[in-house]
């Protein structure tokens, strides 16, 4: 080919030449933390209503592991179930700069691929790191453009990232990787109409993208041709799914292997929308400082304009969310439970809480003002201002998202979170050690990939 190299050519050459031994410590640690976090979340959601529905719909028998579930499933089915459950509570990892949830697409895809192809941990480790890296970098290219076009970035960019990851783990040639990415571009999907009624398709997107990624990688491996200009072409991914921007592909291709963007992955301390988390930190600190909840007259938060649409409006509905799931995307609700219970974990997002009159009364006092200087989406900040019945005003601020690059969660924090998630599902907390060791073994690249032993330990 005498044609200039396409963006996917550059990616494919890097992926094919990457030696798993060259993953940096930072990349390994971020991937291991993500594996630990993701598996805990999958197990926590298996018996929820949506977890049961997706398990019924994808009942095809097979040899692939659903984490925490007794019976194995077909490869694609396991990927859908793991992804849907992992993302089900919106408690999984995210990325500052563009909120893509890389763990719940990449880990299910690579776990299924690892079993399907009998891969070594070193290959799976490479695939997870590459998948997360491509997804995060695509997020940097996309910024807000995919969301504003009406599409879910985790779904669209996740299909591409996970396909790159599976192709990497399979050891595909550059030409095969290019075809894999080209085919994945035609499978990328996911509209955001779940915002209207809190329906469950957002959850499904992670799993469906993982499933699509495996299919795309198998087609690329089989020689099915996909467009080599899938990213930058006139009819490419970004002109279709992010038409409002002129994409800067250097963010995707510069310093690959030298700088790992995914090493800065963010974990969520709370089980709700990412941008609500710094607000919850403020509310938790106020509650712990001993303020008199009954004396709160009004709560006003300074917010970035870009968050209003999803997390604040329509305000009357956000103050009275109809389901535990829609409560996760209501900042007024999240602030109210944080003030009352000093937390916003899975236990704060159940039916009984959503109907709790104390929560609803307090949420009804929460409002916002747009701060034009707010840094969103470059940085996620929090602010809660209380006007008390005596006329005094108490304010609390959080300068960044806890769990993010500026204030990371430690591995111990992640283990505590995983333990709480296992307990929520009625499982023994002792499973945490097994998951933690599994995550380290995979990312250390030692021995064969073996999810079945982990599942036996989780069942014990």
């Amino acid at each position: 080919m005498s044609e200039p190299r396409s963006v996917s050519d550059t990616l494919a050459e890097w992926i094919a030449s990457l030696d798993p031994a060259d993953l940096t410590d930072g990349a390994r640690a971020a991937a291991a933390g993500t594996i630990l976090d993701t598996i805990g979340l999958i197990v926590a959601a298996l018996d929820t209503d949506y977890g049961q529905a997706v398990r019924r719909a994808f009942a095809d028998p097979g040899d692939a592991t659903v984490f925490g579930l007794g019976e194995a499933r077909a490869t694609g089915a396991a990927a859908v179930i793991n992804g849907t459950c992992g993302h089900g509570e919106d408690f999984d990892n995210t990325f500052e700069g563009c909120p893509v949830h890389s763990g719940v697409v990449v880990v299910p895809a690579l776990a299924a691929a690892g079993e399907e192809f009998g891969l070594a941990n070193a290959q799976v480790a490479k695939g997870i790191a590459v998948g997360m890296e491509v997804m995060c970098r695509l997020g940097l290219v996309a910024g807000k453009s995919v969301h504003s076009a009406g599409f879910h970035p985790t779904a669209i960019l996740g299909t591409m990232g996970a396909a790159a990851g599976v192709a990497a783990a399979m050891g595909q040639s550059p030409a095969q990787i290019r075809d894999t990415l080209g085919v994945a571009g035609s499978m990328a999907s996911g509209i955001i109409e779940y915002l209207a009624d809190g329906s469950w398709t957002k959850r499904m997107h992670a799993g469906w993208s993982a499933h699509s990624a495996i299919r795309a990688a198998k087609m690329g491996a089989a020689g099915f041709s996909g467009p080599r200009t899938v990213f930058e072409g006139t009819h490419g991914l970004f002109s279709a799914f992010g038409p409002s921007i002129e994409p800067e592909f250097g963010l995707l291709t510069r310093d690959l292997g030298k700088r790992w963007e995914m090493a800065a992955i963010a974990y969520k301390p709370y089980a709700c929308g990412t941008m609500t988390q710094p607000y919850i930190d403020c509310a938790v600190r106020l509650a712990r400082s001993g303020i008199d909840i009954a004396a709160i007259e009004e709560i006003t938060c300074e917010v970035g304009e870009g968050t209003v649409h999803r997390l604040w409006e329509p305000l009357s509905e956000k103050r009275r969310p109809t389901t535990p799931y829609s409560a996760k995307f209501s900042t007024p609700y999240c602030i109210a439970v944080a003030l009352l219970f000093e937390d916003a974990g899975l236990a704060e997002f159940i039916e009984a809480r959503v109907r709790d009159p104390r929560v609803l009364e307090l949420a009804g006092k929460v409002g916002y003002v747009v701060d034009p200087d707010n840094e969103y989406p470059a940085n996620y900040t929090g602010h809660v201002g209380l006007r008390m019945s005596d006329g005094s005003v108490i304010e609390e601020r959080q300068p960044c998202m806890r769990g993010g690059a500026r204030e990371p969660l430690s591995r111990d924090d992640l283990k505590s979170k995983c333990a709480a998630n296992l307990a929520f599902a009625g499982r023994s907390r002792s499973g945490v050690a097994a998951i933690d060791a599994f995550a380290d073994r995979v990312m250390a690249g030692e021995g064969p990939f073996d999810a079945k032993s982990l599942n036996r330990q989780l069942a014990a």
């Binding site: 077909a74 879910h152 329906s199 469950w200 398709t201 072409g233 279709a240």
Partner: protein, 460 residues
Amino acid sequence: MTRNPARDLTISQKFCAFLAGLDIGSIPAAAREVAIRDLVDMAGLCVSARREDYVRQIVAAWDSDGPCTAIGQERALDAAGAATVNGVATHGEDFDDTLEGAPIRVGAMVIPSVLAASERFGLPGSRALTGIVAGLEAVCRLNRVAPGHMHRAGFHPVGIIGALGSAAGVGTALGLDRDRLAMALGIASSMASGILEYLTDGAWTKRLHPGWAAQSGLKAALIARAGFFGPLTALEGHHGLYRSFAPTGAPDFSYLTDGLGEEWHMEKIAFKPYACGTMIHPYIDCMIELGREGVDAEAIGSIVCETGEGLVHRLWEPLADKHAPPSGYAAKFSMPFCMAVGFFDGDAGLAQFTDARTRDETVLRLARKISYVIDPENEYPMNYTGHVRLEMADGSVIERRRPHLRGGAREPLTREHIAAKFRANVAHGGWEPERGEALLAFCQTLGDADDVSGLATCRG
């Protein structure tokens, strides 16, 4: 949010109330006949493509065996696999059906998934036929809502609308109730995918789209049947399908709510006599007529065709490339090549679109003489016409016109035409004629069959 869920039905619910009430007795004979012809056409196309690389690769890439038939393939696959392979095989040569007025493929996304679901779940032939009619009608009506605007946004309507049509067909065949069907459409809207970047390098993802849409719709119907909550407002919502995939359009949803059961849009499905782009057909008819009259190709100085502006981008330009298409597949979308080969061969079937034929200097010499002028009065896309104006070496002028597409509503192909095309396709695929006759009989009597187990004889 002005909708009162208890009182006001969404667009999906209104349309799905119609689908849920369908049974074989309520479908007029004309609509049933179109469905049967489309089934015959699709089955013949699957046999014709059974040995093509892109079909073999899809079969090789599919990892799940099961009880379902990919027509002409020895290996039995799971339902999604059979739906994918049959969808790709049906559309692979661009020889399958189309819809006049708002161009889209119809059967390739619907029939494969309904057959697969019927085989998987042991449905009677009458349910299968009802599902096919429902899916075809859904594609035709959904495609009328905002015609042209998905293409404009960079998406292939086959992939987008096809996923919903497939879900409607499978959901109806399975007997889902109104709201489950509507949720299946909502879930399929989150799976709908397909960008147009194949236009740049002739990559095979265009072929992939109907198969992928078919299996996505199948999965969406099964997910909805399991009780998974999908958005009911996926068509008209603020973040709905048309806002995301057709943002420049002003959707007219009356196509999904008016005349249901009275007017059958699927009766306007057109069948292709030639294995190339639909809009080229009337031009080929002009050239075949001239060839039969004995016009001497060497005596032709130049050929200028009046054409609709909408055709130029895909079928005429870049003209130098269209004069020398790089592959048999690219040749299907070259107006000059199709016209030239039709002139010499008196046909434009599968045999005319081999890679070898695109290097035939006799054909290419004539193709190079062919060019176009835009006729601002041309009726495209409402009607597809043909015109050639030959300037002969001796200065004389010969002109031919075709007022419409043969195979369309104005001049339908008869049942006998479709059967003849079927037999030619079966022969092209290398089947013995008796096997073809058995498959033809199966298709023509589907509505009376106890089940679709007869499909199993079409393996290999």
